[in-house]
């Protein structure tokens, strides 16, 4: 069913690329032999650091910190404060505002004030609790509404406009308005934040960090310590999960460890305790959204006007990009003829919100889907029909839609993809069966929803769309590849190895993957925005091709012929009827004094973004998908169970279908947690009450339905020349879980036809019961 006119004929059947190979570390994972930073041998004399903070105060002026008891604790070697920072006391990834140690002010509950360096982890942690603080407490702003009252924005308001949304809505035959609170999310990577710093020659420091962004660690450590970037090497072999939580949030710990190593001259490890990790590091942004929409009688949207209030926390961190991405996805899959998409980025006295898989996109899309559901429920139409009526036109349509930010959507596969899922999930028959069930079920109610996603691929900060790689071939034909991307479980390393093996036509096992290090590939982007294999795969491919081209010259010279006529297949280089093994070729190249090392550099073509004008083509392409979920709720208690999930997700031409399937399933379940059980609770004083897995509940195996059918959609390939025409798959599947939230809404709505339940996110039992009660006993004046 491939209908892409530009899709190039595939030259040769792919061997390495496209194979469902296991994760490169799978055998080591299951044997407990994959080493994470805390597992590495500690040099004799290794010291341990624990951060210290004030548990009593959320916001206030720091008058005095008495550290005598801390210093006196057995095992303590040093106590570090802002005064010990040699150069710049800031570890922000963007415009500043993230002190390594608080100086005169406490800005949020959990802000680090000092760090204890001790001979053991236990000693450091015990000592860190002994500080005595004198603080002049101030009333904190906790919610977006507190921040609005105080008038504190961390970044300027920003909006997209397409046409005159106000006029379009005013003139529309049907008009609706509502609001929605969307909760944040804790990453809960299983491996907590950790860094291990080793002093080296002179002022050099090697920092091992569990980070998605080694380059940033390198640069920020250098900045804080007043050293040159070249003095610092940051290395990461693997993370025990990242999900965005180690994009900017790994830096502070690496900086503190490096500072302690610099001051003590010894190796220093900092591993955060889980509760400290959850208190001190940022989470997904929570939002308040208010919207107005105008439609025709069938639900076709004529104009949308939406205001997003984002809680950014105490600093800017990555909020500009995150909240911009919310705006970029406030249309999700829908062609709004007119729109105003406005955002406020509010400064609150809470830990700075940060990147989390989807990077703001999920919140924008949840709004769009709720709006569609509300329209459908009010008009008495099936929500899927309203969705379809508003999709961007298909890739082969005569006219393509244009997003509110000016990008032409010319690769939309949703009409076909959704039609296929509608069929395979048996959507219509199940809707009828559910209606019949609900008609005779006073206590339990079922609901079903089929929701689409369209996710823009590329960093919207255009300069980040670059990557470097270093490929070395050794004279025995073995290969190492290194690139800027980091491995956090997503299978990037094996995918890149597959790309390199494909170039050389050798077995993937012959390509050795090595730890990501700033010493080999400099100035890299974070492994984020789902771009890991797109960018690094391309860079590695370019490097490998360069070596292969040099090899072809040598082979042509040896065997007599044209380099162009040399082919690589099955581990051999062939010219005419003669061939050489790959190892022979490598050996011949060294004898011929031809370099077998090359760097590759890739920057994504064809993307433009003018933020001031809010116009351009920020995304190289879009990834699509859809999910159909069915749930049952208990209207007496709000308990809920997911009964069945069907997913069809667009991966272009998959580099590794097994890895992609894992990303889709894992992403979906993570999204499911965000929208159901994962509730972050701050008390009125701004203290996070859910800072441990005992109170913050990510999904367990039970929460995943037994009936879980996931399929890859490869029919469309990728219209643009991405690596082997694959599509990024890291983030988009998170948003497939919106189908669950939507299904819950519909189950509740069955209690009162025509009424839109005020269901918030996450849909905990309490939130579900509140929505049930609201539709059963409507309160005077509440929006219907």
């Amino acid at each position: 069913m491939t209908r892409m006119p530009e899709f190039p004929p595939v030259a040769a059947p792919r061997s390495a690329v496209g194979a469902p190979l296991p994760h490169d570390s799978a055998a080591r994972h299951v044997a407990g032999a994959a080493a994470y930073i805390d597992d590495l041998d500690e040099p004799a004399g290794t010291l341990h650091v624990a951060p210290g903070w004030c548990r009593e105060v959320t916001r206030g002026r720091l008058l005095k910190v008495d550290l005598d008891a801390v210093r006196a604790h057995p095992g303590v070697v040093a106590v570090l404060t802002a005064a010990d920072v040699p150069a710049v006391n800031d570890c922000s990834p963007s415009i500043g505002g993230d002190p390594v140690f608080a100086e005169s002010e406490i800005q949020f509950w959990g802000q680090v004030v000092f760090a204890v360096v001790a001979t053991s982890r236990a000693s450091a942690r015990a000592a860190a609790r002994l500080a005595v603080f004198e603080v002049e407490a101030e009333k904190p702003a906790i919610t977006v509404f507190d921040a609005l009252d105080r008038g504190s924005d961390v970044l300027p308001p920003y909006e997209f406009r397409k046409g005159d949304a106000g006029a379009a809505i005013a003139a529309a035959p049907c008009r609706f308005a509502d609001g929605l609170a969307i909760g944040g999310q804790e990453h809960f990577y299983l491996e907590g934040q950790i860094a291990f710093a080793h002093p080296r020659e002179g002022d050099e420091i090697l920092v091992l960090s569990s980070t998605q962004h080694p380059t940033e660690i390198q640069h920020v450590v250098a900045r804080v310590l007043g050293l040159s970037d070249a003095a610092i090497v940051c290395e990461c072999r693997r993370m025990g999960g990242g999900f965005g939580g180690k994009e900017s949030q790994a830096t502070q710990w690496a900086v503190i460890a490096a500072l302690a190593a610099r001051i003590t001259g010894r190796s220093v490890k900092l591993r955060l305790d889980r509760d400290d990790d959850m208190v001190m590091t940022g989470k997904r942004h929570d939002f308040r959204v208010d919207w107005r929409v105008g439609t025709d009688e069938t639900g076709r949207i004529l104009g949308v006007d939406v205001d997003f209030l984002a809680r950014c926390g105490a600093s800017a961190d990555l909020s500009q990009g995150v909240v911009d991405r919310t705006m970029f996805h406030a249309d999700n899959a829908y062609d709004y003829p007119a729109a105003r998409i406005a955002t406020r980025r509010l400064l609150t006295d809470t830990v700075s919100a940060t990147a989390f898989r989807g990077f703001g996109g999920p919140q924008g899309m949840l709004f769009a889907e709720r709006m569609i559901d509300a329209v459908a429920l009010r008009l008495g139409r099936d929500p899927l029909d309203v969705r379809k009526a508003n999709f961007y036109p298909s890739v082969d349509a005569a006219n393509h839609g244009v997003t509110p930010y000016g990008q032409v959507v010319d690769d939309c596969v949703l009409p076909d993809l959704v039609a296929a899922l509608e069929q395979s999930s048996d959507y219509r028959a199940r809707v009828a069966a559910i209606d019949a069930f609900n008609a005779s079920s006073p206590i339990l109610r079922r609901g079903i929803a089929l929701t689409p996603i369209k996710f823009g691929i590329s960093f919207t900060l255009t300069h980040l769309n670059q990557a470097g790689a270093l490929v070395n071939v050794y004279s025995d034909g073995s290969v190492t590849v290194n690139h800027g991307g980091t491995e956090m479980g997503q299978g990037l390393y094996v995918k890149v190895a597959q790309v390199v093996a494909e170039v050389f036509a050798i077995p993937v096992a012959q390509v050795r993957i090595t730890a990501t290090t700033t010493g080999k590939v400099p100035n890299t982007a974070p492994t984020a925005a789902s771009s890991g294999s797109d960018l690094n795969g391309m860079a590695a491919q370019i490097a490998a091709e360069e070596i292969r081209d040099r090899m072809a010259v040598v082979v042509a010279h040896l065997l007599g012929g044209e380099p162009r006529a040399v082919t690589f297949a099955g581990g051999r280089a062939r010219l005419g009827d003669r061939d050489l093994s790959f190892a022979d070729v490598a050996r011949q190249c060294t004898l011929a004094r031809v370099s077998l090392s090359a760097t590759g550099f890739y920057s994504t073509p064809d993307i433009t973004w003018d933020r001031a004008e809010a116009h351009g083509r920020p995304f190289y392409y879009y990834a699509y998908g859809a999910a159909c979920s069915e749930v049952v709720i208990d209207t007496l208690t709000g308990e809920m169970r997911v009964l069945r999930v069907d997913i069809l997700h667009d991966v272009g031409r998959s580099l590794n279908p097994a890895i992609d399937l894992g990303q889709i399933e894992g992403g979906f379940v993570q999204g499911l947690g965000w929208l159901t059980t994962e509730e972050l609770v701050w008390d009125s004083r701004g203290r996070l009450r859910t800072h441990a897995p005992s109170t913050y509940k990510i999904p367990t195996a039970f929460d995943v339905p037994a009936d879980f059918r996931v399929a890859l959609w490869e029919d469309g390939g990728n219209r643009v020349a991405s690596v082997h025409r694959s599509k990024a798959v890291g983030e988009p599947p998170v948003m497939l879980a919106i189908s669950v939230h939507s299904a819950i809404l519909r189950a509740i709505a069955s209690l009162a036809p025509g009424v839109v339940p005020p269901l918030e996110a996450p849909a905990t039992p309490e939130a579900i019961l509140a929505a049930v009660r609201a539709v059963k006993h409507p309160v005077e004046g509440a929006p219907a």
């Binding site: 994760h23 799978a26 990242g242 479980g489 979906f668 441990a692």
Partner: protein, 499 residues
């Protein structure tokens, strides 16, 4: 009396003896920091993520049994006499265990950090005789969080390895060595009191009540520890120094369940898992409730005595046991006394336990034919979550008429508590029509003034409690549970508890 000044455990067929350790040392720190066995991970240090799972082998009635435990909160001293199996032990001569192979084949790891713990949990299932279906696998994974995979491939791998017919399930190293292991474990069993340390800092594990009495007389402020699923967190999370630890797990007889004329007499150190196995047979709701207490790991270590003695208002067994009219046996200073369980809970944080006294047994009257029993737990997440509301009730019926009602709730007050008003409203009421029980629902609102916390608001707790009472009455009046609940169907439970 013989005193042993070390603990001993079995590791890869070798006896490891440890004579010098802090009373609060955890098994995880011992493995990772002392023995440098770093395959076992720390994800939370509070028993909730399962990354630290190791298998504990013990002889139960002469049979070798493997159970998963959370090494992060398990005190090192309490593994005395057991076999400790860690992830490093599974592969044999470089060949992965069948379960590990299935995990690789099914792409069941991504970041890999949860993986060793998951493999160890599933290993204990593999080592359990019989076939294990999906429900059994899901239950076995209830204490293992994975943030990457979405679990589907893990469940598939587990089914591939554990759902095979026993004759098609290859014997692993452990099955092959079971007889030798049993002999070695028997060799570690002795009638000695364990005492490691000195009077100021020690880990003690007396083997008899009188020895315990002596220790408690000398050190009245010593900390009693059974499974340490609470106490472990005081150490790892609250950072408390507990210099004197007295472990109850070795005391002879306290770990036995006895069948009596009235029902069961359950020793205080009987694990939640072992208690569950017996109580589950009485009613599917008991099976489902106990299956939802913590995880397999927590239930393997945690004891029924500890679940009561900790006095928590949100412990799950007390409301169920109170509804069953259980009593508590306490022993101290040479005397035994028995009190109705509900009277043990005096107020938040205060129990009727005298200095030097310990809980020794829980006596639970059997459910009779004229009883109707229900128990429900409400939490944000189905598995391994603390209840926001727990309800348990036992009605005594005379035909359609309720002659006695025992309704006990958790999470609604400072202690597990009966709903006096609702009970009174139910006595004499008829089940025939909902009108007959409506007054009880209203009365329930007057019985409690719950609190708001991070688990639920006061308002929700009250609404849910009323909803649960309504559900129970509707069910007892005849509505099948598939029309009243989204999980824990009475028709289904039992088979997953016994898988």
């Amino acid at each position: 009396m013989t005193v042993r000044r070390s603990i001993r455990y079995l590791s890869k067929g070798r006896v490891i003896e440890v004579a010098d350790f802090a009373p609060t040392a955890t098994l995880l720190d011992h493995l990772r920091l002392e023995r440098r066995l770093v395959g076992t991970k720390e994800g939370c240090a509070e028993g909730d993520c399962g990354a630290c799972t190791v298998a504990l082998g013990r002889l139960v009635d002469g049979r070798l049994v493997y159970e998963p435990i959370n090494a992060c909160i398990r005190l090192l001293g309490t593994v005395d006499g057991c076999e400790v199996v860690t992830i490093e032990d599974l592969a044999e001569g470089g060949v992965l265990h069948p379960l590990q192979q299935a995990m690789v084949r099914r792409h069941a790891s991504q970041c890999g950090f949860c993986t060793p713990g998951i493999v160890m949990s599933l290993f204990t299932l593999y080592a359990t005789p019989g076939r294990h279906d999906r429900d059994a696998v899901i239950d076995r994974l209830s204490g293992n969080l994975c943030r990457c995979t979405g679990y589907r491939p893990i469940v598939d791998a587990a089914l591939e390895a554990c759902d095979a017919r026993p004759d098609q399930r290859p014997d692993d190293l452990f099955a092959a060595h079971a007889a030798a292991t049993a002999v070695a474990l028997a060799g570690l069993t002795d009638a000695a009191a364990v005492f490691v340390g000195d009077e100021t800092r020690f880990f003690a594990a007396p083997h008899r009540l009188d020895t315990l009495a002596d220790i408690l007389e000398a050190c009245p402020d010593a900390t009693l520890v059974a499974g340490a699923t609470d106490v472990g967190l005081w150490i790892t999370k609250a950072g408390r120094d507990l210099p004197r630890i007295v472990h109850l797990g070795r005391i002879a007889g306290l770990d036995r369940i006895e069948e009596t004329a009235e029902g069961l007499s359950i020793g205080a150190t009987v694990s939640l898992a072992a208690a569950a196995e017996r109580l589950a047979a009485w009613d599917p709701d008991l099976a489902h409730l106990f299956r939802r207490i913590g995880s397999v790991q927590v239930r393997a270590s945690g004891t029924l005595g500890g679940n009561i003695a900790n006095g928590s208002p949100i412990g799950d067994s007390p409301p169920a046991l109170i509804a069953l009219d259980a009593s508590l046996e306490l022993w101290g200073g040479g005397t035994l006394r028995q009190i109705p369980l509900e009277r043990f809970f005096l107020a938040y944080g205060r129990q009727d336990r005298r200095p030097g006294e310990i809980v020794t047994r829980v006596v639970v009257p059997r459910l009779e034919a004229h009883h109707a029993f229900r128990a429900y737990k409400i939490a944000k997440r189905h598995d391994q979550d603390i209840s926001s509301v727990m309800a348990a009730l036992r009605l005594t019926l005379d035909g359609d008429r309720i002659t006695e009602a025992r309704l006990a709730f958790g999470g609604m007050a400072g202690t597990p508590m009966r709903a006096a008003g609702a009970e009174a409203a139910l006595v004499g009421a008829s089940l025939r029509s909902a009108g007959g029980w409506r007054p009880a629902l209203d009365a329930l609102r007057g019985d409690f003034t719950p609190l708001t916390d991070m688990r639920a608001s006061a308002d929700y707790r009250m609404e849910a409690a009323v909803g649960l009472l309504g559900r129970a009455l509707a069910e007892i009046a005849g509505t099948p549970s598939h029309k009243t609940r989204v999980f824990g169907l009475r028709e289904e439970v039992g088979h997953d508890a016994h898988a």
